[in-house]
Amino acid sequence: MKRTSALRVAALAACAAFLYSIASPAADSVKIGILWPLTGNAAAAGQASKAAAELAAEIVNHAHPELGDLPLAKTAGLPNMGGATLELVFVDHQGNPSLAQQLATRLITQDKVNVLLGAYQSSCSFTATAVAERYGVPFMVGESAALNITGRGFRWVFRGTPIASDYARTYMRFFTDMRKSGTTIGSIAIVNENTDYGTSVADAIVAEAKKADISVAIRIPYSASSSDVSAQVLQLKEKKPDVVIFISYTADSILYMKTMRNLDYRPAMVIGDDTGFSDPSFIPAVADIAQGAMNRSAWAIGKPGSTTYRINEMYKAKTGRDLDDTSARNMQSFFALADALNRAGSTDPEKMRAALAQTDLKPEQLMMGYQGVKFDSTGQNVLAATYLIQLHGSRYELVWPDRAATAKLQWPMKGWTR
């Protein structure tokens, strides 16, 4: 029996060695490691953001004078670093936090990336940013909403995208504007899916509503995978709030609109907290029954000839679909990161971190509706903001704030034609 067990160990070692022969690192340039869910439940968003990041890298790496003063658009590559091009290394964490941690480690130690971007799900951002903090590698959070990703006293973590409290404040500013112009808003209702995204945004809205003394008639958490939502709609029908805010993913958003039509329930206004309402499949599915539904988006395609319009055309050519708000916010964080890399002038982590900390992009340098990109001591972009858009016909029109509006707000919403 002795010899065969040695044989067994040798066979195992051989097969393990074969599996370990993973790709070796590529040629040097500024490498950005990007962690997104390319499979699993959030694969659609991951893929869309991946295409957006690839497009952004193309824009930076090649000269695009027609894109106005978008940072690094006119030039090819990073001028302060001898035209070094950006090289993207994508990894798929499948929404699994421990895999995200493992892949973040791999990007830093194996692929020797200079900076990290990512993680979409808050759970994965938590673990990946912890790795970046331990290794001292700048990490730009492109999308995750959970508040305390940047609240843990980290030096190396930055977040370009607005967080839950920004959205909540935007809604409250909108409601106070509406009240000033005479519209009665007695109470609002919040319907949120019960994972980290929905919970953190709903919590923020409840807190901000208290400050803006707007009463919350009811808050209804639900599980996104539930097949039937009539119970929630009937609860809304009973409470009769003026405005209902939906913090939901794609399928549930569509289902809510259909169920509301089926149960003949139409509040004065419905606001979707992006995600579900911004999904490209939302409008075709419910355009005829959800006329006037509002949504928040920091991204507006804008008028033909504008920088945003051209970017959207380039994205459509690449993917066949319009750029959605989630991928656009990731793209904006990518540009802010590229701009900081250029200003740092070197791939030394401490220099890159300092450059990121001093970032101060003006609204006209952005493709998004932020008031700018400027990071506070916790790494959160304090100038992040968002527009409110409304479904007119089969397109979202920018209706608030008035200074950027391209169409008039319809209040109350029409919903479905009688």
Partner: protein, 319 residues
């Protein structure tokens, strides 16, 4: 067998020094964690034949307790490990006494339902961070926080725990308790007629298994520094334990370790080659492996080896 086991342990000890690279250390740690979790499941699932598909309930408790003591009282996470073991033992008794009366499919289904019940409940419980989950200290306040920059300390801690678990399994295997477990798996009615106290033995096995599964959960939480309902109590956590143990050979001492040695690197390789490409191949691979395993060799690699060994020896002698 002695000679084989010694070389295997020597290889595991030397592994991080031979493959001196962060990435392989991380695979190593992942591999050990999978081996610990599967070996813990193996005590009740493999030896006693009580196929629990809800062991994530113990893994989750093990993972949540350390981060909870840190979250609430700023204690080092490792202080939560005894609490986790206690809670897991209590849960094992509470759900064990009624469900261990059930047989085969009923038992598996009851464990699935209970694990799902706990996952959804934890997801709505604010004290434990509801859906957002809990985070551990990202940067350690001292060595006691066990937040190491490199993976090597984790690797050897995990290896130590695996060694303890496998030696406990060895003691169990050789003693009356182990024989009684295998008798229960082979035929409960016959075992009872020989005086085997079936219910108490199954419960003891479940408690021992729950304690070690909870420790595995704590190790995961302390290393990852994050836990949420899905990664703690999700059904894929339970399924992974069963696959790793079954692939290696459920009901054998080194089966789960062998299963982890094959499955974890294969999974990482798939993630690396196809990960970026965005196809869920890993789980298609998992499904395929289990199907083939169940269809052709439920005994796993261990059984295959037993069948192949005589042939190899004969061919070796003939050559």
């Amino acid at each position: 067998m002695r000679y084989g086991a010694v070389t295997l342990w020597a290889a595991l000890l030397a592994y991080p020094l031979v493959l001196y690279n962060q990435f392989y250390w991380d695979i190593g740690v992942g591999l050990l964690l999978a081996a610990i979790t599967a070996s813990a499941w193996n005590i009740v699932g493999g030896y006693a034949g009580q196929v629990s598909v809800g062991h994530a309930m113990f893994f989750g408790i093990g993972a949540y307790a350390p981060l909870l003591v840190y979250h609430l009282w700023k204690l080092p996470p490792v202080a939560g490990v005894p609490l986790a073991i206690g809670l897991s033992l209590a849960l094992a008794v509470i759900i064990g006494v009624p469900t261990l009366r059930l047989k085969g499919h009923y038992f598996s289904m009851a464990t699935i339902a209970i694990a799902e019940l706990i996952r959804i409940f934890v997801g709505t419980w604010d004290l434990v961070g509801a859906a957002i989950g809990l985070q551990g200290p990202a940067v350690g306040r001292g060595w006691w926080d066990l937040t190491f920059r490199s993976e090597i300390p984790y690797y050897y801690i995990f290896l130590g725990v695996l060694a303890v678990l496998l030696s406990v399994t060895a003691v169990v295997e050789r003693g009356r308790f182990g024989y009684y477990l295998r008798a229960i798996k082979a035929g409960e009615r016959a075992a009872r007629s020989l005086g085997v106290p079936v219910q108490q033995t199954k419960l003891k096995a479940l408690m021992l298994s729950a304690a070690f599964t909870s420790v595995a959960g704590s190790l995961y939480a302390i290393k990852t520094g994050f836990i949420d309902p899905e990664s703690g109590f999700g059904i894929l956590v339970s399924v992974q334990m069963v696959i790793v143990a079954a692939l290696g050979g459920a009901g054998t001492r080194l089966g789960p370790l062998v299963g982890a040695l094959v499955l974890v690197p294969a999974q990482t390789a798939i993630n690396t080659w196809f990960g970026g490409g965005g196809t869920g191949l890993t789980y298609i691979l998992y499904g395929g492996i289990i199907l083939v395993l169940a269809r052709f060799e439920p005994g796993g690699l261990h059984e295959l080896w037993h069948r192949a060994a005589p042939l190899l020896r004969r061919r070796a002698r003939a050559a």
